[in-house]
């Protein structure tokens, strides 16, 4: 393994959390680790990337109001076809990351391995782990004659750690050209909206309290928010109630939502669909409150309460308040 590239999506002037996880993983492959970034903050991003082991940062530059997929994929493909070819490209499974991976795959005519939850390097080959069927089965795969290997990796698959000995403080930033992208680059972002949030971020909180259909009505989600606040945690939700419009998508936990690994996960009125469990089963402790004794969530819960969440949670809230 001579060279690995990591895609560095920026969030507010610094790399997204998953980028640091991917850099940590890439360092373990043995070769040089380089990064491709885009957006307005390549300088501040590069400083952080260096601490996590990046030797060089390829900068696509500020792409303005364009969606990243077409330009970033075209810039990387042009490097590869020009001879600057890594053995692997690690891409975080974010919305933009998946778009870039898809377009890069076509540009290079190479397959992509998606939903990766682990990567092992041995004998110059990379083997990827895939958690399938709601986490009950572990599948290992590898590319045959496809270089660079394109891997789309789920968040929280690796624990981010700065490079040891300390990584470089100043990293070489190399601007790379974006070839003509034609009609593919015609979409424009005209406004950005962020959901308001108080308390810790959902994917960083030590305690997550999540609600599902078993809450019965949208109004009852206030119970989840209140319990989360009392425990200094973050509220989350199953896909069912996000789809039903009870709460915004930013709260969704699972396959297409956030992956969480809190100390304690409290599932209230969530049955535990496979796509939900893959997003939370790595919690240290799981408490589940659900009416249906047969709900799959009870097969992984450390403490399971067979009961109505709308009855148990209010009493729990009162009991916690009474302790103070």
């Amino acid at each position: 393994m001579d060279k690995t590239w990591v895609l560095a999506e920026q969030r507010g002037g610094v790399p997204a959390g998953i980028v640091l996880e991917l850099l940590t993983a890439a360092r373990g492959f043995g070769g040089v680790v380089e990064v491709v970034t885009w957006g307005p903050s390549s300088e501040s991003t590069a400083t952080v990337l260096g601490r996590y082991g990046a030797a060089k940062v390829y900068d696509v530059g500020d792409i303005g109001e364009a969606l990243p997929g077409p330009k970033v994929a075209a810039a990387i493909a042009s490097q590869v076809s020009g001879g600057n070819r890594p053995d692997a490209v690690l891409i975080g499974a974010t919305h933009d990351g998946r778009d870039i991976a898809a377009r890069l795959s076509v540009r290079l005519d190479l397959p992509v391995l998606t939903n990766v939850v682990g990567i092992t390097a041995s004998g110059g080959r990379l083997t990827s782990d895939h958690s399938i069927f709601g986490g009950s089965t572990l599948l290992r795969a590898e590319f045959t004659d496809a270089i660079p290997g394109l891997f789309v990796v789920q968040p929280k698959s690796f624990v981010a750690e700065p490079a040891e000995p300390a990584g470089q403080r100043s990293v070489e930033i190399v601007a790379i050209e974006v070839p003509e992208t034609g009609a593919t680059n015609a979409a424009r972002i005209v406004a950005r909206h962020e959901e308001e949030r108080s308390g810790p971020k959902l994917d960083e909180a030590a305690v997550v309290v999540a609600g599902g259909r078993g809450l019965g009505s949208p109004g009852n989600f206030a119970l989840i928010t209140e319990l989360a606040q009392l425990l200094k945690g973050a509220p989350g939700a199953s896909r069912a109630i996000v789809d039903a419009g009870w709460v915004p998508y930013a709260l969704q936990i699972g396959q297409t939502g956030k992956t969480v690994k809190p100390m304690v996960y409290i599932a209230c009125g969530i049955s535990g669909a496979a796509q939900h469990m893959v997003g939370m089963k790595a919690a240290q402790k799981i408490i589940a409150i659900n009416k249906d004794r047969e709900a799959p969530i009870f097969t992984i819960a450390d403490l399971g309460v067979v009961g109505d969440a709308t009855k148990v949670v209010p009493k729990l809230i009162e009991a916690i308040k009474a302790r103070r």
């Binding site: 789809d243 949670v313 729990l316």
Partner: protein, 259 residues
Amino acid sequence: MNVAVCVKQIPDTAMPPALDPRDHTLVREGKLIMDESDSYGVEMGLQLVEAAGGGEVSLVSMAPNSATSGLRTALATGAAKAILVSDPVLAGSDALGTAKVLAAAIARLGPDLVLAGTESTDGYAGTTPVQVAELLGWPSVSFAKHVKISDGLLRIQRQTEAGYEEVTCPLPAVVTVTSGVVEPRYPSFKGIAAAKSKPVEELTVADLGLDPSQVGFAGARQQVISVEAAEARAAGEIVVDKGDAHERVLGFLEQLKIL
């Protein structure tokens, strides 16, 4: 306004999924149903055609053994016709191989817009629609939670990790829609009867002018090394609420020093 909707026919999700022990592909025997996440694309397509006051919704699907059971559901709700690509050489196709097939089929239709789900329920790679867009040389907007067209321009609310973006995009384009974006309609009796006679054009890989080495196991260029049961997380203590279960939860949180 002509809309092509990518539809995947998958095994009934009520049945536990399984891998074929010989080639590690998902077992797709028995009656296939339309992936529920595609029902939102079909409904969105029907609504956009209705709003435009003309045009039609066509379905594009790739499936083994000429399966059409999943397509009939969408035809019954109002789609006009379907293209089904079915060919033994497609076995083992990955997302890119699938995208090549779908893009070639879509090119025959020449639609103004292609809709697809953000990811399938059974394989959930989530890259196929945007690969189709790149193959066609079109723009794409993924994770759309609201879609409308005005003055010939798509106006989309695109989900992001922290909220959403308002995105504009000219046609033709590929858009992936999230589940819940619209409320899929139920087929009427009249629709179900009419669906039986709606045209489903069945094509092979050769009909699409694709090289067989580009699809199937040959095109996928990846292999499964092993499949094993993941380390199971054991079930713990179960209490049935008799009005005091919150006390056990409180005790548990105290034990963990959360309280």
